[in-house]
Amino acid sequence: MLNNNKIKIMTKLALYEQGNGKNDIKISHFYKGDYIRYNILKTIVSITVGFLFLFALVGLYNVEYFITNATVINYKQMGIYLLVLYLAAVIVYVILTIIITTIKYKNTRKHLVKYNKDLKELNEIYKTEKSDIR
């Protein structure tokens, strides 16, 4: 026998799982701290790659200056300057990442609470179905 109530709930669950839920459920596999740390890691990798490209672009632009003044450039100072620039960017980006991912994690929790409620309801229906058979 088809159980209409069950189909309704299953459809609701399937719609969520195929839509927004896909991402939410993926996030729900992480603990909050792990999720934030994972995103911080991704951010740092991303900025590092971005900065490498940026330095390459700037370096190539000034390549003539480097060649002509190769002996007089204070490489240590330049290195420190670039490092400070990079670290400052990392700090700003990491703070932003923490704020954004915390909000995102909180929002997915809200959706998942509703999803879990529906799952429990489905479970109840299964239980009653089984007891009916017996």
Binding site: T11, L15, S46, G50, F51, F53, A56, L57, L60, I100
Partner: protein, 332 residues
């Protein structure tokens, strides 16, 4: 106004019913427009400009997420640029990577703006973007907006330097590279455009958040006025006055378009017919979930008032015919 509201509901109902057809078709049309525009502005490589290629790429975009369209548009542009100059192509790729890794990665859901700005620039109505973003988004959208403006000016500069031969010797290539970079970094128009667009986004956003009547209308109007004034000042001061009339007309058309979009804007969680599949122990289910449509159907009230001269000269209400009987709505 009533007719427009009914039209809005009808459009919404059609979308709900045929969303699964409308979406790929509109994506396909959008993709054709985007690729044709790239080909008409940067069409150096004849092989990539062929209509067959455009249609094939568009077909691919119709069934994939919008990010694929952005990626393919970037790839097509770079393909054209590579045909004229390898140095320029590499530069473009590096600049795009920098934009992506440092800025766009964090606002990935708004990345379509990067594509929209150059396209709307070609149509002379880029002013749609800042006003619209102020209305529907948050000031975070300044980031992709800035990227879009940079991409547009990058391509504009590439178009002007594409004729110069670049690959004769290493020294010449370096000079060429420096020349292009100077053009990008020294471009005041680029800088001022980003600043003005950012200001328009912030002000439009702030006004639409106010709890006043017609906040959205005021926001559009203020955004447009600020846009015109700011560009007027900038255009006059950096002497590109040839564009002023186009800019003013473009802003007026843009604000009109934003007004229309704002009117037709559907709920952000708009639903449509969905097909889902799942199974339990006994059955496979193929369910078609159809959203409930609550259209405010045009309630036709036909009041036929026949005036007849009575003995006292008064008018009699002869007929009051309603096509929908028994509804409380009718008596409104």
């Amino acid at each position: 106004m009533m007719d427009l509201l009914v039209l809005k509901e009808k459009v919404k109902a059609i979308y709900q019913k045929y969303g699964h057809i409308i979406e790929p078709v509109s994506k396909f049309i959008l993709a054709v427009i985007v690729f044709s525009m790239i080909n008409s502005t940067l069409g150096y490589d004849v092989r990539l400009s062929k209509i067959f290629v455009v249609l094939l790429l568009s077909l691919l975009c119709a069934f994939t997420p919008i990010s694929i369209l952005i990626l393919l548009a970037a790839a097509l542009s770079i393909g054209h640029i590579y045909f004229v100059s390898r140095v320029l192509a590499v530069m473009t790729i590096v600049i795009m990577f920098i934009l992506y890794f440092l800025l766009l990665r964090f606002t990935a859901n708004l990345s379509y703006i990067v594509l929209a700005i150059p396209i709307l620039y070609i149509l002379k109505i880029p002013y749609v973007i800042p006003i619209l973003l102020g209305l529907i988004s948050t000031p975070v959208s300044i980031v992709p907006m800035a990227c879009g403006v940079i991409v547009y000016y990058l391509f504009k500069i590439i178009k002007t330097v594409a004729g110069i031969p670049s690959e004769t010797s290493i020294e010449d290539t370096l000079q060429y590279y420096k020349y292009v970079m100077d053009m990008i970094l020294g471009n005041k128009e680029l800088l001022f455009t980003i600043i003005i667009f950012a200001v328009v986004i912030i002000i439009t956003y702030l006004i639409r958040r106010q709890k006043i009547d017609h906040a959205f209308d005021f926001a559009i109007l203020t955004g447009a006025v600020i846009n015109i004034l700011a560009f007027l000042i900038v255009d006059l001061s950096i002497d590109v006055s040839g564009q002023i009339i186009i800019m003013i007309i473009g802003t007026i058309i843009s604000s009109g378009l934003v007004y229309i979009i704002q009117f037709f804007r559907l709920n952000l969680d708009y639903t449509r017919v969905e097909n889902v599949q799942f199974e339990d122990d006994d059955y496979y289910y193929y369910v078609k979930a159809v959203p409930k449509i609550n259209i405010t159907a045009p309630e036709i009230n036909v009041k036929r008032i026949n005036s007849r001269k009575g003995s006292d000269g008064a008018h009699h209400l002869m007929d009051l015919i309603r096509d929908d009987k028994g509804s409380d709505e009718d008596t409104k």
